[in-house]
């Protein structure tokens, strides 16, 4: 299986899949499609970890892979979907920029990352290629958080960033100890739950349709 993996550049393909799912969000407007994109992104991440685990036989990587799949690939999307259902009317994500402009800026971000990380980075992990992709995913997640108005888009942006951070950490270290990963996953669940509560509260307080974050500007002292 190892030879087959090397021959077909499987790992590179998987990581490019991660990047593409992140970029694809820019062109999607349905929030349920966003959640699906995140789900696929997490599956690919879990798959990547699985492949690395096959290549370097370390048992805790299998655990990490399963954990990622269970939490990010199943549990979180399920939870997000239930939030979206609660918010009822929220189907479309409002954005400040047009789709094409968002895609162009994402492309520029990726270019900047590739140019600047192209040289002088000493990578201890399995691929410097994956590191570039992970940084690009982090920045795209941040970019999504900036340009979308609704609170649920902010959560998804954060989750993409988190996937990116996880990937970056993984590409540099071959995975952290299981206990750390367990903590990170637990942290993430907590964040999403708290933000879900916040979002419902924002929606109720400002009685807006989309839990619009612009309303929070009034809170400034």
């Amino acid at each position: 299986m190892k030879d087959w993996m090397d021959l077909l550049y499987v790992m590179d393909f998987v990581s490019i899949g991660i990047l593409i799912t992140a970029i694809s969000i820019n062109s999607l407007s349905q929030i349920e499609a966003w959640i699906k994109a995140y789900m696929i992104n997490s599956w690919l991440l879990s798959l990547l970890i699985f492949f690395v685990a096959v290549k370097n036989p370390e048992h805790h990587l299998y655990v990490a892979s399963t954990l990622t799949f269970a939490s990010k690939g199943v549990l979180l999307p399920f939870f997000l979907k239930s939030i979206v259902k609660q918010m009822k009317k929220v189907q479309v994500v409002e954005t400040y920029l047009s789709t094409s402009l968002s895609l162009i800026i994402s492309g520029i971000i990726i270019a900047i990352v590739y140019v600047s990380l192209g040289k002088g980075i000493f990578v201890t992990g399995f691929s410097s290629f994956v590191l570039k992709i992970s940084v690009a995913v982090i920045l795209i997640g941040l970019f999504i958080m900036i340009t979308r108005r609704s609170a649920i888009a902010q959560i998804l942006g954060l989750l993409f960033m988190e996937n990116g951070v996880f990937l970056a950490g993984f590409s540099l270290t071959f995975g952290m100890p299981s206990i750390v990963e367990l903590g990170v996953v637990f942290d993430l669940l907590m964040i999403v739950i708290i933000m879900g509560v916040f979002m419902v509260q924002i929606k109720q307080k400002f009685s807006s349709d989309a839990a619009d974050m612009d309303q929070l500007t009034n809170l400034k002292g």
Binding site: S116, G120, F143
Partner: protein
């Protein structure tokens, strides 16, 4: 000996907890605990004064965080000062807090506040000192803003701000000391402090004056005093003014005199100048003040100045090698510290009684209270007489000592000392004169004459615990004034360790002999002489004038048919001459607005406003705050309130870092 320390701490903690538990009921119990604790600490302080330095307690958690409490004669003296005031305030509070909202929390904070002051004075290393100091500051902040009905929030803000500025200097000072001596422990620092470079010593000196001076209230860092003291409940302002600002003095003594030792002469001269300016300006603003608690707060500023005059003189004399005279000056400073704690505590307590029963702090609305509150009036009078430094009360002795030591500065070799000290003496004389004017007003306006408003007519005498609390301090004013010899003997070990020589104060039975200045003082003899003269005068009048007859007539009313209390001499009128004479200092804003029916003869009405904005606020603090505000407004443009923009800042920063860093 140390058992008294533990007993005291346990009693104070028990008092703190008890007042929380008994919140609105049986609050007296908690205060009885704290006053007993104060007695324990007073004994502990006296024992410390007569013993070599002792290590009390050391809790070591990690190498850096080590709590060390150590007592020596200097801390013993300050513990005594704190305990004396605390004892009376605790008893006073039993009556004062009756019917007050949240009094449980007040009692709790009060106990913690006192413990923290003891902890500051007993701290043996930097960390302990800083933590205790900050605890003291924070708890006293809560006490300042305790009274939510008044504008205490602003006062609290100013207090908190000034305290923080002060503590920054203190922390930097300690860091410098640690860097150059390599010790956290005060004993170690003191041993190594001799080798400090002169420049470093000077920086530490300046930082100590600014840092501790903010707490003590030297001009121009005193601005929080006239705000915070009136805002706090009166038992608290009594503690803050009587004791807490003395902890600032303790800091100056500990760092500058005890740890740094004898410095260059200009240090002492600088402190004399600061003391002179502080005392003169403090009493000048006190004189024109109409709010009784603000008046007392400004008066505290004046007294801090007098204490610093004593300490500064001591330092100058020590730099000139005149150690015996230096010890006398230090005695003056410490004695005044004790005296000021006693009579300012008394004055704030009796002012608190006034405010408590008249519900106003404005002197103009009081009047005639001597008939309604005779005991309070008597105690306030004793406090006023003491603070005016009239004979056979305690203020007299310490100010006399300060004069003597200032005037003895002519024995010093250097010219600056010869010039600075008499000028300091002149400043002291000037502030003494103004203090008399100030307290003639502070006593006369509220207590004499007729009630000026409905506030004064409904006044009632304070309850028994409040009177007892005041009576103890009033008695102490007299005792400290008549038996200075015994008192000085009590705290002379602290003087010895500060002045650096074993010095036994030359005093006999109630007589102070200052052989070096050729001046003696025996308050007891003065008292006897005064009584004898008084008796003789009474007898003479009787012999010459025969029996007198009292007859009652109406006052002459200038032809106006009825006199009203509003026509009485007011506090403003009383001090108007000072406002005119010292116009250049006060810079008053006067507005006379006349409305005529027919110019220029037929007046309809005249309105007159007169306001004094302290020059420090106008010329020092306002420009600073304006500057900070203008910067803040510019920075505020960044803060749009939009979360997207904030995230955008992060993204742009990250991209720029990626582009130009890697």
């Amino acid at each position: 000996m140390i058992s008294f320390f533990y007993l005291g701490i346990i009693l104070f903690l028990a008092g703190a907890i008890a007042s929380l538990i008994f919140n609105q009921r049986a609050n007296g119990f908690a205060y009885i605990l704290t006053s007993t604790g104060a007695v324990c600490f007073a004994i502990f302080g006296v024992l410390l004064l007569s013993s070599p330095p002792v290590s009390i307690l050391s809790i070591s958690t990690t190498p850096i965080l080590e709590f060390v409490f150590r007592g020596d004669t200097i801390s013993g003296f300050f513990i005594l000062v704190i305990s004396v005031v605390t004892f009376s305030v605790s008893i006073y509070s039993i009556g004062y807090t009756k019917g007050m909202a949240n009094k449980g929390i007040l009692g709790f904070l009060l106990s913690i506040f006192i413990i923290s002051m003891y902890a500051v004075v007993l701290s043996g290393n930097i960390i302990t000192f800083l933590i205790s100091w900050e605890t003291m500051s924070i708890v006293s902040y809560f006490l300042v803003v305790f009274d939510t009905q008044e504008k205490s929030a602003k006062a609290g803000f100013i207090y908190g701000l000034m305290t923080h500025v002060g503590v920054v200097f203190i922390i930097v000072l300690f860091l410098i000391l640690y860097k150059y001596t390599g010790h956290m422990d005060f004993a170690g620092i003191k041993a190594a402090a001799g080798n400090l470079p002169d420049a470093v010593k000077t920086i530490i000196f300046i930082f100590a004056i600014i840092g501790f001076g903010t707490k003590a209230g030297i001009v121009p860092l005193h601005t929080w005093l006239p705000e915070a003291h009136p805002a706090a409940p009166s038992n608290i302002s009594s503690l803050m003014s009587g004791v807490m600002i003395k902890v600032g003095i303790y800091g100056i003594l500990r760092i500058v005199v005890d740890i740094l030792g004898v410095g260059p002469e200009w240090w002492g001269t600088a402190i004399i100048i600061i003391g002179a300016v502080t005392s003169v300006l403090g009493i000048m603003y006190a004189t024109v003040e109409r709010d009784i608690k603000r008046l007392l707060a400004y008066c505290s500023v004046e007294n801090i100045g007098i204490i610093l005059l004593g300490i500064g003189t001591s330092m100058v004399l020590a730099s000139n090698g005149l150690y015996k005279l230096s010890a006398i000056a230090m005695t003056a400073g410490l004695y005044h510290t004790l005296n000021h704690a006693v009579y300012k505590g008394l004055l704030f307590l009796s002012a608190g009684s006034l405010v408590h029963s008249t519900h106003t702090k404005n002197l103009e609305e009081m009047g005639g209270l001597i008939k309604l509150m005779p005991y309070t009036a008597f105690f306030f009078l004793i406090g006023s007489v003491s603070i005016c430094a009239l004979p056979f009360f305690n203020g007299f002795v310490s100010e006399w000592l300060t004069y003597q030591s200032l005037l003895s500065n002519f024995q010093a070799m250097s010219a600056t000392a010869k010039v600075a000290a008499p000028l300091g003496g002149a400043a002291l004389a000037f502030s003494g004169a103004l203090a008399v004017a100030c307290f003639v007003k502070a006593f006369g306006i509220p207590f004499l004459g007729l009630p000026r408003s409905h506030h004064a007519t409904g006044a009632k005498e304070s309850s028994l615990p409040m009177l007892v609390g005041m009576a103890i301090l009033a008695l102490l004013c007299l005792v400290l004034g008549i038996f200075p010899g015994h008192t000085i003997k009590l705290f002379s070990p602290a003087v010895s360790s500060l002045a650096g020589i074993e010095y036994v104060f030359p005093s006999g039975k109630g007589v102070i002999h200052l052989s070096k200045t050729a001046a003696d003082l025996s308050p007891l003899a003065i008292l006897v002489a005064m009584i004898a003269i008084f008796m003789a005068a009474v007898v003479l009048i009787r012999i010459i004038g025969g029996k007198s007859k009292t007859s009652y007539r109406d006052s002459w009313d200038c032809g106006i048919s009825s006199l009203t209390p509003r026509m009485q001499y007011t506090a403003t009128a009383h001090t108007n001459p000072f406002r005119r004479i010292f116009e250049k200092v006060y810079l008053p804003i006067r507005n006379v607005n006349s409305i005529y029916i027919l110019k220029p003869l037929f007046l309809k009405s005249i309105s007159y406003t007169n306001e004094i904005v302290p020059s420090f606020d106008k010329y020092l603090y306002n420009p600073i705050t304006d500057f900070i505000y203008s910067i803040s407004r510019k920075v505020k443009l960044l803060q749009s309130g939009s979360i997207h923009l904030y995230l955008g800042y992060i993204l742009i920063t990250l991209l720029l870092l990626l582009l130009f860093w890697f």
